[in-house]
Symmetry: C2
Subunit: 241 residues, 2 copies
């Protein structure tokens, strides 16, 4: 009933022999896995396991890990391997501060130039999210919650903004997992709904304000007081494998 009970590292697609997979795809897969919270912060990403999982050589995997590290989604420790990043309190603040700087402006841009199709995609995202919530599909709900923000970034038509936000939203997923309240792991549907309404009515000021408030709400659910917490750096320091 609860899809939470899965193997921790669940990228095992066991690709058929003849297939080929781009390193871009591998990176995207891991991004998704982190965003869906199927890969927890601090999880070790062993090269050999990833090789088997994706059916590619070690060099390719190493390149992917380097790319992931360059986006702060993975941490590379010298001679010690790659681990899913565990954002510190400082990093958590920085990420949301950056989102607070970017996303309200992105909302403005969407109001100015989003097509009906793009708004429809946002609507669809919202509907799927609500459905996933009702069905109790936790992974899907978490993913769709973040995907709303990414679709919104996509609707700006700005590739650079999209790429930057993809990184920030993914890291946010780690942050919420570490510092968030146990139950509150997704954005509230209502926030997204009212935001979308503002976008539809082409009300830039309201959209910007709602986005800012929405991000503020998320931050307010985080516990960024203590120096560390469960799931944070301590976990991997103490991890006995």
């Amino acid at each position: 009933m609860d899809p939470m009970t899965e193997t921790p590292e669940d990228d095992s697609d066991a690709f058929a022999a003849g297939e080929e997979i781009t390193e871009t795809e591998i990176v995207a897969r891991i991004f998704e896995a982190v965003m869906e919270r199927r890969l927890a912060a601090g999880t070790k990403l062993s090269e050999s396991e990833l090789c088997k999982a994706f059916g590619v050589g070690r060099m390719r995997i190493r390149r992917c890990l380097l790319l992931l590290a360059s986006h702060d989604v993975v941490e590379l420790r010298s001679n010690r391997g790659a681990y899913v990043a565990s954002p510190s309190v400082k990093q958590a603040r920085d990420v949301f501060e950056a989102r607070l700087a970017i996303e309200p402006a992105a909302a403005r841009l969407v109001v100015e130039r989003a097509t009906e199709d793009q708004l429809a995609a946002l609507q669809a995202c919202l509907a799927e999210e609500a459905e996933a919530h009702q069905r109790g599909n936790r992974h899907a709900a978490i993913r769709l919650s973040g995907e709303f923000h990414l679709r919104l970034a996509e609707a700006t038509g700005n590739e650079t903004l999209l790429r930057l936000l993809k990184e920030l939203v993914t890291r946010s997923s780690l942050i919420v997992a570490i510092y968030g309240a146990p139950g509150l792991e997704t954005c509230r549907d209502h926030d997204h709904a009212s935001l979308l309404a503002a976008l539809r009515s082409r009300d830039a000021d309201t959209a910007e304000r709602l986005m800012r408030a929405h991000l503020g709400d998320i931050i307010s659910t985080l516990d960024l007081s203590g120096p560390a917490r469960i799931g944070s750096d301590l976990v991997q320091v103490l991890a006995k494998r």
Copy 2:
């Protein structure tokens, strides 16, 4: 008299044998070279030349090129090598749109929390820039002009914002080189000066407004009408080495 007459690729530091250089440093060097406009858009970055220049193995260089490519400062063409990126018109618009989203908010943050030391560093940057202009030191002036923006990002105390802006400012240098008016390759000193004044007087609204206006001014000096221009993709397409 004109320091513009240099070899196009001027990273030749010819490191002493015993030294060691981090890949992080190599990446930073290339970033700097692009920002100072010592590496023009479309310049081929041959692996073997870089190996000799930095005195490191090929693998290390390849990792650096991958990192640079992940920040859109370098373009990797399959089986054809690495080239300094040549932002398209669309990419140019995207980059400045992103800066327009981020930097005004960054200015606000600086007003709120910058220390006197950081403001002094900005002041120093401004002074150096003016001096470089007077001396006709073009490379230094260009670099310092961009560095003002980076120091400002640094003064937010937000590492994530700093990293994102480092990428955007570096790409901006390429964009201005390609699409900018021939003479106007640096921000105007006065803009930076008045902006700093607003920061000093802790006037967030003015700082934000000035930053927005400043970026708008830069964009208005660009010619983003045509589909391509000198220095753009065409150059490397037609380049006979």
